[in-house]
């Protein structure tokens, strides 16, 4: 025998359907959107400019002027999409680029597709044909660093002086030798030898104009550092490379032990604060206490 249809359930079901529809609409609206609409030149500026010039000489990576005449486009596109894979595969030209770049592997570019790689190669070709490309590179002051530059660089690194455009200080994620106590952050690499690693003052300065690693790029794309700040930071990094003191590799252990010690102190405080805490009902009664006479 069929059960009578429950009228009460109908609105509940429609209520659920409404909620689910709203939920999936939110989900659809919230689906991540790619950077498809981004201009190729803007994309180049944000992702390539810090390591490459077009006609301005080598930075961390090679000068890209006439790169399409040095290697075929298919190879270049494959390298751009996954540089590490090409190196791992033992490709001789990829290994040559790695050697010339002092072992710095080109980082994988977020949002780069085959179509965008081809568009970038078109752009590089067009810019190479010009007498002076708009991507010839930023010109930096080459005056000798002073002790004031180093001091200001240290203040910027530690965050004592904020970066003008609102970027976070370097210490948030990086350390250098000689910071003392707990050192700097460990989300990113140790920057003690960064100047040496990337090939000196000019490539490091250019790199800091728009840091191109996948972690730093989103943070600094809206908060680019100013030229004077970059100069001071580079002065600080070059000075840090000369430091001969112990590195701070034990800092995480020191930090952990300090946390552990603090935890023990707080546990002691808990015990003192709640020393009259409620411990039992039955046990004191059994022990012959005088409780329970009031109603």
């Amino acid at each position: 025998m069929r059960e009578p249809l429950s009228v009460a359930k109908v609105p509940r079901r429609s209520y659920w359907m409404k909620w689910c529809a709203a939920g999936f609409m939110i989900l659809f609206l919230a689906m991540p959107r790619g950077a498809a609409g981004q201009e190729t030149a803007a994309f180049y500026k944000q992702n390539c400019y810090s390591c490459h010039t077009i006609g301005g000489g080598r930075l961390v990576g090679p000068d890209l002027k006439n790169v399409t005449t040095r290697q075929d486009r298919d190879w270049l596109a494959r390298f751009m999409l996954n540089p590490q894979a090409m190196i791992d595969r033992g490709d001789p030209y990829a290994k040559q680029i790695l050697e010339e770049s002092r072992g710095v592997v080109m980082s994988q570019v977020a949002g780069l597709t085959r179509e965008r790689a081809n568009a970038l190669l078109d752009l590089i070709e067009a810019e190479s044909a010009l007498e002076k490309s708009q991507f010839e590179g930023v010109k930096f002051s080459d005056r000798p660093f002073t002790s004031q530059d180093v001091e200001r660089g240290e203040r910027l690194f530690k965050g004592v002086e904020s970066l003008k455009n609102g970027g976070p200080s370097c210490i948030s994620c990086h350390t250098v030798r000689g910071l003392g106590l707990l050192g700097g952050g460990r989300l990113g690499v140790d920057l003690t030898k960064v100047s040496e690693r990337v090939g000196g003052r000019k490539p490091l300065s250019a790199w800091l104009v728009s840091p191109a690693t996948t972690t730093m790029q989103p943070v600094f794309k809206e908060n680019a550092m100013e030229a004077e700040e970059i100069l001071s930071l580079v002065a600080f990094f070059e000075d840090a490379a000369k430091q001969v003191g112990d590195d701070d590799s034990v800092a995480p252990l020191t930090f952990f032990l300090m946390g552990l010690g603090g935890m023990v102190l707080v546990l002691g405080a808990f015990d003192i604060i709640w020393k009259n805490r409620f411990r039992a009902v039955r046990r004191p009664l059994v022990a012959g206490g005088q409780m329970g006479t009031r109603v």
Partner: protein, 232 residues
């Protein structure tokens, strides 16, 4: 391989947070409407109260401070970065946060041992409790690991995680802030989404019904039912 990774990143950081939030809101409301009296911490203090204190107190005070720290970094990232503008202030904040993170971990482990060491408490343990323990352990251990091995979280959270979370809230997810993070950070984020999604099916709902109205309800007039001379 790269595209598979990219797909997983989209799934974990662009879609999962919304799935978790949708489940959280729908099921929380529905459970309150249909089973309001199940909104409880299902305290087992009645069954065992000797070891209870050393689990309950560190866990709750630890988690409250740590979660509050995440909320402050999310709401006021610039102010937090300004506070961290001097290394000594940064170190004080980080050590304090680590102390409460370790208290959370100790409290959680203590409640876990107690729950399975005492037969009465073990008897009232459900499958949801066990799953919740697994999720919370992963969350707290990964959090402490990130704090120690990928310092200084209070600063880079404000610079990277906070904009990511705001992009989620404003329905314009920008996963570029988190896709290059180390594995432990990614695990912490993904597991947080799982905890939020699983929240309404567990005893965690008691967080929503602590006696909040005490803070704003009108004062109550308390009357004594005894003659004044009999008061003590």
């Amino acid at each position: 391989m790269a595209s598979a990774q990219s797909y997983l990143d989209q799934l974990f950081f662009g879609v999962l947070p919304y799935l978790a939030l949708i489940i959280f809101f729908l099921v929380t409301i529905q459970r309150y409407r249909s089973q309001a009296f199940t909104y409880s911490s299902l305290s087992s203090q009645f069954l065992e109260n000797q070891r209870h204190f050393w689990g309950l107190v560190p866990l709750h005070y630890g988690i409250l401070v740590v979660v509050m720290g995440h909320v402050v970094a999310f709401m006021f990232p610039r102010q937090l970065l300004a506070w961290n503008g001097h290394p000594i202030r940064l170190y004080i904040l980080e050590i304090s946060a680590l102390i409460f993170g370790l208290l959370t971990l100790l409290g959680l482990l203590s409640t876990l041992v107690r729950r399975f060491a005492f037969s009465k408490v073990r008897t009232v343990t459900s499958l949801a409790d066990i799953l919740l323990y697994v999720l919370l352990l992963v969350q707290v251990i990964s959090g402490v690991y990130v704090a120690v091995m990928h310092s200084w979280g209070s600063s880079w959270f404000a610079a990277s995680a906070s904009p990511y979370l705001w992009s989620i809230i404003t329905l314009d997810p920008d996963i570029s802030y988190v896709i290059a993070m180390p594995f432990a950070v990614k695990l912490h984020i993904v597991n947080a989404c799982l905890v939020i999604g699983f929240f309404p099916f567990t005893r965690l709902v008691h967080i929503l019904v602590i006696p909040n109205p005490y803070l704003w309800r009108r004062p109550q007039v308390v009357r004594w039912n005894k003659a004044p001379g009999l008061r003590r």
